[in-house]
């Protein structure tokens, strides 16, 4: 009886919500880009070396370089729109960016919201940056302790829920690094690739990446849901990047050690 009532109520609300639901546009974004002459790409601007600013304010890094390749292929100019983890999917959904190359981990629930392109272009896992003096060895060691993170990162929930850490999430990496150095948290949960890049710098000499990397997951670049044409084109581009060793070349250019994923993908497509 109660179930029947609940179902009826749900249907009523569903009908109401349907009236508000937007009808997605079916136009091909590729035509729009060519007509506009500009490809708008959402990239990170606080994620050295994948996307960051130079002194003139321009956004540079590995991902902006990849975006430039796409624009060159389409024969249009490129415009970088800085995104953060907590707004990047919304920007793509709204159509504010045509393409998102913003260090986003490929997750099944994200595939429901945006159209992630196969194969994956990059990969990283989750680890923490922590002072050597703590001597952490397992994720469970974090239980009950404050751990810095980035707002909108998927592993916050896991670190908080499964390992019992007390997540202290900031808007950007600068705030998180500063809070870590100040001792506001015992570690910074982040992508291992970026942590390795940080550890190469002198100010992090007393820090380490002590835990086993978890969730080694590929990064997905994404287009808006339903943009099949663009998705196919990007898929060909990614295969080309792996085949030609472009990703490896960019890693070297921006001072990152060649990652196992990029090396393996390069070998696979040879």
């Amino acid at each position: 009886m109660i179930n029947k009532f609940l179902k009826g109520l749900t249907t009523a609300v569903a009908l109401g919500a349907f009236a508000f639901a937007a009808v997605p546009a079916q136009a091909d974004v590729l035509d729009d880009i060519k007509e506009r002459g500009v490809l708008r790409v959402g990239v990170k601007a606080d994620y050295k070396p994948y996307g960051f600013r130079d002194t003139s304010g321009a956004i540079i890094g590995i991902e902006p370089d990849l975006a430039q390749d796409v624009a060159d292929k389409l024969g249009v100019a490129v415009e970088f729109i800085p995104v953060v983890s907590s707004n990047r999917m919304q920007f793509l959904e709204q159509g504010k960016v045509d393409l998102m190359i913003a260090t986003m981990t490929d997750k099944p629930d994200r595939r429901k919201v945006v159209s992630i392109v196969d194969p994956n272009y990059y990969s990283s896992g989750t680890n923490i940056l922590a002072a050597k003096s703590f001597g952490f060895t397992a994720w469970e060691d974090l239980r009950g302790k404050p751990v810095c993170g980035i707002q909108g990162a998927f592993y916050n929930k896991k670190t908080g829920r499964d390992f019992g850490a007390n997540i202290v999430a900031f808007k950007g990496t600068a705030e998180a690094y500063a809070a870590l150095q100040a001792g506001n948290c015992v570690g910074f949960v982040y992508d291992d690739s970026s942590i390795i890049a940080s550890l190469a710098q002198p100010q992090w000499s007393d820090y380490e990446m002590p835990l086993p990397t978890i969730d080694d997951a590929p990064w997905g670049l994404a287009v808006k849901l339903g943009e099949e044409g663009f998705n196919t084109l990007m898929s060909e581009m990614i295969v080309e990047w792996h085949k030609s060793g472009r990703i490896l070349e960019l890693e070297t250019k921006w001072g990152v050690e060649n990652t196992p994923f990029a090396t393996a993908m390069n070998a696979k497509y040879q």
């Binding site: 609940l6 916050n156 705030e175 506001n184």
Partner: protein, 248 residues
Amino acid sequence: MEAIYEWFRLLYDNTGINLPFIYDSYDRGRMISGFFMTVKLSVLCLVLSVIIGMAGAWLQNSPLKWTRRIVNGYIQLFRNTPPLVQLYFFYFAIGTMLPKVTNDWGGQEPILGGFAWAVISLSFFAGAYNVEIFRSGLEAVPDSTVEAAEALGFSRFHIYKDITLPLAIRVALPALNNNLVNLVKTTTLAYAIAVPEMLYEANQIWSDNVNVTEMMVFMLLVYFVLVGVLVWGMNRWERALKIPGFGA
């Protein structure tokens, strides 16, 4: 209870209206703790900022030139810079310079954490406005009242505490009311230094579930209720303090 949770889950499956802070126990826990954090932050800042306002208004009338200058400098500095930048300045710049204490797990942590800095920073921000509000209230107290008290041999502090301040509060209440409502709304800024208040938790939830719209509408409703409760309480206080023939 379970039936209600189940209904909201069904609502999501059927309509896409996603309210995980009702049906998901982890998100529900986050939301509830965020709500209480906001309440705690608001109450502490309200009390502290009113104390700062009263003390500041007293010091502003000090016979010492430099005391007055410092109070005025404080007011101008806090009124003419963004509270968000103040918060960053306190937390990241001042916070890292203070001595550290050893915590339970052997690490060195700053003596004041995010919550403490949020309380300090927001109280001083609202306090700067409160000083001005109390000052204008003090100016409304007739000079003859103060003179009468002086003739009766009251000390300067006694006159302030027992005569001018109680009268000034009554005049200042409407403006104070307004400023305190602003303060409750400003507590959302604590989000930027990762104090797990309501907006912060809402952001965590919408990051995990991609349901910005629902969370935003919910946030607005909760803040209306909070502000409404405060306004109601302040109005009651105003009525309780009312002296016939004094104040508006």
